[in-house]
């Protein structure tokens, strides 16, 4: 996904100084041989897998979303075509719209906070001494490497009702006795607070490192010149750094939006630790609870198709941008 960041050819966006991946923008048009049969043969393995595991299931998903497809159909009963019934059922179901609203709000909060924190940390890294930058790098790397599931379980333990550190510190250190056996996950709002902490904690390193790598590519002459002209730090950020890093920001934001809208593991695991499913479902867990747990495969399929369309709509800008800037 983010390979596109590297491959984007607008000069300032190339991430690494060595430019290992992105060919020089001014390179002469590549010569490509007419291959006859060879290129198709080379594509066969990939195509077979992608058609079998993405194409065919996607086709089935669309068919299924037009059918009444429950547990009985899984065991062989012929499915009945109901055409748009599943769709009208979902689109008129207030629960679905609550889930959509919840997902959008959660993703919005997470994306904004992740971007702001990640960018601030990247700017900070530019100005830190060697030791502190190394310290920060190691910390961020550890957070980044933690698998989402383990991270969620560990955060669940940190926020645990009876023996969690947070409650313990709040009660014993700050004397806030209200937090004795306070359940963080039972209230939907504080459930999402915890979920946001988990998601943002895991996502900030990616943003920080990517933006930092971009920052090191901003030519110092430009910044120095601006400084001699008496610009403030904020002005330099707004008028020099932001334009230079524009395409990095675009790609990172879109990836964050997609990832945060698709969030599953963190919410699912937190629900397992102690959230109320009905009040905390987001799109991913909602599809799961309708189809896998509820056995309503047709309805689940329709929701899935709607989600795919939604994500496509969001990412179309990214796809177009990439196609435009890439020498395909």
């Amino acid at each position: 996904m983010s390979s596109n960041i590297v491959a984007m050819d607008a000069a300032p966006t190339a991430i690494d100084g060595e430019r290992m991946t992105a060919p020089a923008p001014a390179a002469k048009p590549r010569r490509r041989r007419p291959g006859g049969f060879t290129p198709y043969a080379l594509l066969v393995p990939s195509l077979v897998i992608l058609i079998a595991i993405v194409g065919w299931p996607l086709f089935q998903l669309i068919i299924m979303s037009f059918q009444k497809f429950g547990r009985a159909q899984v065991f062989g009963a012929p499915p009945e075509f109901v055409w748009f019934d599943n769709y009208t059922k979902i689109l008129t179901d207030p629960t679905f719209w609550q889930v959509v609203a919840r997902s959008l709000a959660f993703a919005a909060v997470c994306v904004v906070l992740t971007m702001v924190l990640g960018t601030l940390i990247a700017l900070m890294m530019m100005r830190l001494g060697k030791f502190f930058r190394l310290l920060l790098t190691v910390g961020l790397l550890l957070a980044w490497a933690m698998p989402a599931l383990t991270a969620t379980i560990v955060w669940g333990w940190i926020f645990d009702t009876d023996y969690g550190v947070i409650n313990n510190v709040l009660v014993n250190l700050f004397g806030l006795t209200d937090f004795t056996q306070h359940s963080w996950l039972i209230n939907p709002l504080s459930f999402f607070l915890v979920a946001a902490v988990v998601v943002i904690w895991g996502a900030v390193p990616f943003v920080a490192f990517t933006v930092y790598a971009g920052l090191t590519q901003v030519p110092d002459e430009v910044l120095e010149a601006a400084q001699l002209d008496g610009t403030s730090y904020v002005q330099r950020f707004r008028f020099i750094i932001v334009p230079y890093l524009r395409s990095i920001f675009v790609v990172v934001i879109i990836l964050q939006v997609i990832w945060d809208l698709r969030v599953f593991t963190q919410i699912f695991a937190l629900q397992g630790i102690g959230g109320i499913k009905e009040q905390t479902n987001v799109l991913g867990t909602y599809i799961y609870s309708v189809s896998i747990a509820g056995g309503e495969y047709g309805t689940g399929g329709a929701i899935a198709v709607i989600v795919v369309i939604l994500l496509m709509a969001i990412s179309i800008y990214y796809v177009r941008q990439t196609i435009k800037e890439e020498d395909l």
Partner: protein, 305 residues
């Protein structure tokens, strides 16, 4: 990864700021540095704390974990929790799940790299009909969310009797990482001039020989970077594994950890943290080992998955 390697080289903007700071007065600069360093330490602590707390809890006896007093380091050090996780016969078994995870991960990485390398060669080195269409399709496929497809993937695998098998899960994971891998390797192959291969062919290599002897070795950084992506993706993936390989003997580590957690309830946090540590350590170690070799842009997408 440049974000990391860059720590070694002097940073541009940092130097620029230094010059002004000297002009505006060393005192102000010193104050800023101190404030920033303190902030850096805070961010560091916040990033590391959960990892530390996981390891710390895992080495404490469970009755101490469930006590009123916090222990910020494992002063009653014990390995009992690891014993529980690894050898307790009454709980979901760690060993088989670990083996399943390792197998699926290695197979996924190997197959995805070979397939993607071939596809990347096709789209970079040859001119053919529908070349652009293929590349755009690759880009779009990445946007289709896996969780939307679980039900139909389940049915497809069921139809082929591949549920609860290493092979079935591997195929699914290969399909998941393939688009990204092809896309990324394409960039790397583009970076190796075709002239090098042609020179090799003049010196008597076949076209296939030229690919393998000349282009392939030059792709090492790209293969490492995309391999890491596949590794982390396959090792951490939870939802598909949960649905497709639900049987105890076919479980991978994330599904095992989840079952383990549900079985122990909230009562045995110490053992759960030991299990979490066992699952996280391979990724963390692997990550720290290879990060130096990767460009940051690649890692980025890779790791979050």
């Amino acid at each position: 990864m440049s974000a990391i390697t860059a720590t070694a080289r002097p940073t541009a903007a940092g130097a620029a700021i230094d010059t002004t700071a000297r002009r505006t007065g060393a005192g102000k600069k010193r104050a800023t540095t101190v404030v920033l360093s303190i902030l850096a330490v805070i961010v560091f602590l916040f990033s590391v704390f959960p990892v530390y707390w996981m390891i710390n809890t895992s080495f404490q006896p469970n009755n101490q974990v469930r006590a009123r007093v916090l222990h910020f380091w494992p002063d009653n050090f014990t390995l009992r929790n690891y014993g529980t996780v690894l050898f307790d016969q009454n709980r979901a078994q760690f060993g088989p799940a670990f083996m399943n995870s390792i197998l699926v991960t290695i197979l996924t990485v190997a197959i995805a790299l070979v397939f993607a390398f071939l596809a990347a060669l096709a789209v970079t080195r040859f001119r053919f009909k529908s070349r652009k269409a293929f590349i755009i399709a690759i880009l779009i496929v990445q946007m289709i969310p896996g969780e939307a497809m679980i039900v139909s993937i389940f049915r497809v695998l069921d139809g082929w009797s591949l549920l609860n098998s290493i092979g079935g899960l591997t195929i699914v994971y290969v399909a998941t990482v393939l688009p990204f891998t092809i896309w990324t390797l394409r960039g790397f192959v583009n970076g190796v001039p075709a002239e090098l291969e042609e020179a090799g062919m003049i010196d008597g290599l076949s076209r296939t020989g030229a690919f393998w002897k000349i282009t392939f070795p030059l792709l090492a950084p790209g293969l490492v970077a995309t391999g890491v992506f596949g590794f982390i993706q396959a090792w951490n993936e939870f939802l598909l594994a949960l649905v497709v390989n639900a049987r105890p003997e076919a479980m991978t580590l994330p599904v095992w950890l989840r079952t383990f957690q549900t079985l122990t309830g909230t009562t045995n946090w110490a053992a759960i943290m030991a299990g979490s540590t066992l699952m996280a350590i391979p990724v963390i170690v692997f990550f720290l080992l290879v990060q130096g070799r990767m460009t940051s842009g690649l890692v980025s997408g890779a790791v979050k998955g």
